[in-house]
Symmetry: C2
Subunit: 559 residues, 2 copies
C-alpha cells in the first residue's frame, strides 16, 4: 500500500505453454551403493566453492572456469564435470551415478492437457504484464505484488519448517526502465547501516560487516538505487517484525550462484539453530523473464516511452526496436490463416531482428518462408505478398523496450519460523522454582493481543470480564479468554508461553490490572478505558513505557 | 475474531489415506452420438425433481423411491436407473452411454505416492481435530476456520467467474456436543427476518418468503439454534458487504440433495444474471466426518465430558463408549510390534464394539485374531496374552462421544462476483451526453478508498496532494493517484467506474474538496483534516450524511 503496488492473484496450476518446466528440472545423482540422492548441481557448486576458497594457488584461468562452470550445463556436461573433478557422495565417498532429470514441479492433468503446480507466483505476474502495465496507465516504474501458495516436489522435506512441499510466498515484481534504475524514495533508507556480506568479502572468507546503504551504492557494491531501496525496505520490514538485527545479514550472490541474466542478487539471511537461512531474495533479473515469455507466447511484452520530439533512432542500442520494419498485409494474411490470423500477426510483430532479416532473405530468394508460430505449435508458410520487410532509418515517436524487473521474493513460512526462534526466551519464575518459556512477540505481530480473566471466579468479576471482552472485540482486538490453569501465576505463565503481550485481570468492579509480558509489570486502569489502552498498545501507537507513566503501577502481593 | 475461532492452515495436497478420493468421484455419461458429457447424478436428480414436482398423481411409494434414489448409488445402479426412467441426453435426446467414473480431484505424485489437490479445506480441519480440541482446553463447543485455495478438475469451467478449476473458499467447522445444539448468542440474530425457501415450499413450487429466524426454529423449519445462528450471521455478513437483501435467499436442501448423514442443509443463494447462485453452504453434518476419519486412520477423534459424579452408564445410548473394555498389555505388544506399537494400540482403542466382541470370540476360540491396522495398511496378529477384553458394567467418570459439526462454507470468488453484479449501475452524465458506469462498493469494501489529484497541474497543488497522500497512507488508507483523463469530469468518471468512494481534489493550498461517488456531492475540508475524515468514512465509523452536515458543501461550478 505504501508503495502503491498492484496486488494480484494468478492461477497456481499453469500449462507449460511457456517452457516453464525446463527451469525447474533439476539433475540428480545417486550414491551407487546406498542409493542416496543428491542434487548434482549442489555437489558441483560446493566443490567449486570449496576449491575457490581453499586453493589459494589456483591459476586465474582455473578460477574463471570454476566460477562460470554452472551456466546452463546439460546432464552430460554435469556428469562429465563430476567425473573430471572426482566428486563422490559426500557422506559415504562412494561413486555417483550419471545425472538424471527430476522435475521439482508437481505435475497434474487438466482438461487442457498436462498442468503444473507453480513453484513461484512471479510467473503469473510476467504472463499478465500487458494488463498490469495498462492498469498503471502505460507508465513505468510500477510494481505488482502477489501472495500465494506455491508447491515444490522436494525430494527430502527437512530442516524443521524450513523446507516444505507447499508454502506461502510473497513476491514483488518492480518493473523499471533499464535506462533509469534510480529510486525517488532511496533517500528514505540511504542512511541505514546493517550487516552485509558482499561478493568480494565472501571470496576472501571474511564475515559480514556493517555497511551504509548509501556507501554501498556509491562504491558500486550494490548495483543501483532501486535494488538498494528494496534491500533497505526488507531490512526495515524484518526488524520491525522482531528479527534480531545482529542475526540478519544481506549476502550478495557469488557469480557462480547467479543466473547468467541477473545483474545483481542479494539474499536476506537470518541466523537460526539450522544455520543462516535464506528468507528473502532481492535481485535484478534484467529483462530475462519478460523476453522469455514474449518469445514463447509470441506476444510482445514491452513498454513505450514517448519522445519529447521524434528522433532518428540509433537502433543498435535499443533492446527491441527493429531496424527491419515488418508490415503485415492483412488482406492476404486474413484469408490464408483464418482464425489463426491474429496469432500469426502477433508472432510476426514479436519476431527478432535476426529472424526478420532471415525471412526477408528467404522471401527474396524463394518467394516464401517457413515461420514458426509458437502459440500454434507449428510452422506456417509466409508468402512474399503477405508481408513487406524493409530496412529503413526512420523517425521514431516512441522508444519501445522491454522493462527490467527488480524482484523481492519473501518466504513467509521461513520468516515466521525465524521469528519464533528470535522471539523465544526462558526465565525463572519469581520463586526460582520453575523455568518458564516466553515468546517476546511485539504487540503488532502477536496473534493474540491480550488475555482477559477474573482474578477469582464470581458473578460480578465474570460480568466485568465479559463487558471488557465485548469492548475489546468492538475495538478490533484479537483476544483470548483464558480457560486453563488455576492460579493467577499459571494463567500468566500460559499466556507468556503463547506470546500474548498483555493480560487483563479483573480484581474489582471499577478498575482492573493490565500486565505486560516481558517486564511483568502491572498498571491499574479503569474498566471503561481498557479497550482504548490495549488498542493503542497493540497498534504500536504507544509503548508500554509511556502507558506505565500515565497509569498507577499495581504492586499488590498477588504476583 | 468475534467468535474466537481458531484460524488454521492445513495442506492442500493430501495423500488418500482417508479414502477421500471416493467422495469426489463423479459418474459421467456421454451422449452416444455427439460425445457431449453429462454428470449422471445431475441428470437423474433433475429427472426425479421434475417428476416429483409435476406428477401430482404419483403414488407415495414411488415418491419415496424418487426421494431416496440418490443415496450412494454405484455406477451400475445409476446406469440401471437411467435406463429404467428412459433418461436421454437433454440437448439432443440421443441415448446415453453407461456411467463411468471421473475424478474431480487433480491428482499428482508426491514423494509418498499419489497425492490429491484438496477440493475443500474442511478435510484438513477434521484430520487435525485432536489438536484443535486440545488448544481449546478440551472443551466444546469451539470452531475452527480456514481460508485457502481449493482445486476442482471441472469438466467444463463456465458461467463467467462462477465455476473455476481453482478458487478460494473459507470454511468454518463448529464442533458441538450432539446433546446440546443451542447457541448462547442466538438471541443476537433471532429477530432477523429475510427470504427463506424451506423444503415444504419448494416441494409445492412456492417462492421464497420472508421468515423470522426465531419462528423458523420454533416451527422446526430450521433444525436447531446453532444452524440458525450461522444462517443469521451469514445473512448479516453478505448484506454488510453490499449484497442486495431482496436478491438473497436461504434455500433448504431437498431430501434427495442432502447427504444421508446430514440432518439439515441450507444454501445462501444470490440472484445474478446467471440465475440463483449458491454462494455459502450451511449444514449440520452430524458426526459423519470425524467418524469417517477415525475409522480410516484408527485414531479416535472424540470429545469427553466429565460427569458431575460418576455414573453407571447405559451404553446403548452413547455413540462411542464401549460395553467392552479393552486393556492392551503393553509388555506383550511392545516387543511384538516394535515401532508400530503405538499405532496398534491406537487402533485397538478405536475399535468398534462389534469388532471388539468379534476379537474376544476369536481369541477365546483360536487364541489369536487377525486385526487390520488401517494406518499400517496391513493385518497384524493379536494373541490372547496381548489384550484382555472384558464386558462389564462400570462406573464411568466421563462421557466419551464424537462431536457433531456445523459447517459454513463460503465461496469467496462467487460472493465477490455477485457483489460486482449487485454493486453495478449506470447513470447519465450531468450533460446527459454519456452513459457512465459506477460500482457502488461500500467504503469498507472498496479496494481503493480514495483518489487524490490536483484540480490543475501546478507545483503548489501537487505539493499539497503529495502531503495529503502521505497523511492518508500513514492513516492506513489504500488510495489511488489519478494519472489518466484530463478534465475533472473524466477523472471522477474513471474513479466511479472503479468504485472508489471518495475523491479528494486539491483546488487551494489550505482546503480541498472531498466528493462522494454516488451522491456526487462535494464538501470542503481543511488539508490537515482530510486523512481523519477519509479514515472515519472508510472504516464505517461515520456516514457521508453525518459528515456532510459537519462540513460546508462545495457548490462551485466546476462539476
Amino acid at each position: 500500500m505504501e508503495e502503491e503496488m498492484q496486488q494480484v492473484k494468478t492461477p497456481s496450476i499453469l500449462p507449460d505453454a511457456s517452457g516453464h518446466v525446463q527451469k525447474f528440472i533439476d539433475f540428480m545423482v545417486k550414491d551407487e551403493k546406498t542409493g542416496a540422492c543428491y542434487r548434482a548441481y549442489h555437489l558441483l557448486r560446493d566443490h567449486c566453492k570449496d576449491k575457490l576458497e581453499k586453493d589459494l594457488a589456483i591459476s586465474s584461468e582455473d578460477a574463471a572456469e570454476l566460477k562460470h562452470i554452472l551456466d546452463d550445463l546439460s546432464a552430460e556436461q554435469l556428469g562429465a564435470k563430476i567425473k573430471e573433478y572426482g566428486i563422490v557422495a559426500p557422506d559415504t565417498k562412494n561413486p555417483l551415478s550419471d545425472p538424471y532429470p527430476f522435475n521439482l514441479m508437481f505435475e497434474t492433468t487438466t482438461g487442457m492437457g498436462p498442468g503444473y503446480m507453480c513453484p513461484e507466483t512471479a510467473h503469473g505476474i510476467f504472463v499478465g504484464f500487458k494488463d498490469w502495465y495498462s492498469y498503471n496507465h502505460n507508465k513505468l516504474p510500477f510494481a505488482v505484488a502477489q501472495v500465494g501458495p506455491v508447491y515444490k516436489n522436494e525430494i527430502s522435506p527437512s530442516q524443521k519448517l524450513l523446507r516444505l512441499c507447499e508454502f506461502t510466498i510473497a513476491e514483488i515484481e518492480h518493473f523499471v526502465d533499464p535506462k533509469d534504475k534510480s529510486h525517488p524514495k532511496f533517500s528514505t533508507v540511504s542512511n541505514l547501516e546493517f550487516l552485509m556480506l558482499p561478493r568480494a568479502e565472501q571470496m576472501t572468507s571474511q564475515s559480514a560487516n556493517r555497511l551504509c546503504l548509501d556507501d554501498a551504492v556509491a562504491k558500486g557494491i550494490i548495483n543501483h538505487q532501486t535494488l538498494a531501496y528494496f534491500i533497505g525496505r526488507v531490512y526495515l520490514f524484518l526488524t520491525s517484525l522482531g528479527i534480531d538485527k545482529d542475526r540478519l545479514r544481506f549476502r550478495q550472490h557469488l557469480p557462480y550462484e547467479m543466473a547468467h541474466y541477473a545483474s545483481d542478487c542479494w539474499d536476506a539471511e537470518i541466523e537460526t539453530s539450522c544455520g543462516w537461512i535464506e528468507c528473502v531474495g532481492i535481485s535484478d533479473r534484467s529483462d530475462f523473464d519478460l523476453r522469455a515469455q514474449s518469445e514463447k507466447s509470441g506476444i510482445a511484452l514491452v513498454a513505450q516511452e514517448k519522445y519529447a520530439e521524434p528522433k532518428e533512432v540509433d537502433v543498435t542500442i535499443l533492446l527491441s526496436a527493429f531496424k527491419c520494419v515488418i508490415r503485415p498485409n492483412n488482406k492476404e494474411l486474413g484469408p490464408a490463416f483464418k482464425s489463426h490470423h491474429k496469432m500469426v500477426v502477433e508472432a510476426l510483430k514479436a519476431m527478432t531482428e535476426e529472424k526478420a532479416l532471415e525471412m526477408k532473405a528467404g522471401l527474396e530468394s524463394k518467394g516464401e518462408f517457413d515461420f514458426e508460430v509458437c502459440k500454434l505449435q507449428k510452422f506456417v508458410t509466409i508468402k512474399r505478398s503477405m508481408v513487406s520487410i524493409v530496412v529503413e532509418k526512420k523517425l521514431e515517436h516512441v522508444r519501445t523496450f522491454t522493462p527490467h524487473v527488480i524482484e523481492a521474493s519473501f518466504g513467509i513460512g521461513r520468516i515466521l519460523y525465524c521469528l519464533y526462534e528470535h522471539s523465544f526466551y526462558t526465565r525463572f519464575s519469581k520463586t526460582g522454582m520453575r523455568q518458564l518459556n516466553v515468546f517476546r512477540f511485539l504487540p503488532q505481530v502477536a496473534p493474540y493481543k491480550c488475555v482477559v480473566f477474573p482474578l477469582v471466579k464470581n458473578k460480578q468479576y465474570e460480568d466485568v470480564a465479559e463487558r471488557i471482552t465485548i469492548s475489546l472485540k468492538q475495538a478490533g482486538i484479537c483476544l483470548m479468554r483464558y480457560t486453563a490453569g488455576t492460579s493467577i501465576k499459571e494463567k500468566y505463565a500460559y499466556a507468556d508461553e503463547l506470546g500474548v503481550p498483555f493480560a487483563v485481570t479483573v480484581d474489582s468492579e471499577t478498575s482492573v490490572t493490565i500486565r505486560e509480558r516481558d517486564s511483568e509489570d502491572l498498571i491499574r486502569v479503569n474498566v471503561a478505558e481498557v479497550a482504548a489502552v490495549v488498542k493503542k498498545l497493540s497498534n504500536g501507537d504507544t509503548t508500554w513505557a509511556d502507558i506505565s507513566q500515565k497509569y498507577s503501577a499495581h504492586t499488590s502481593g498477588i504476583l
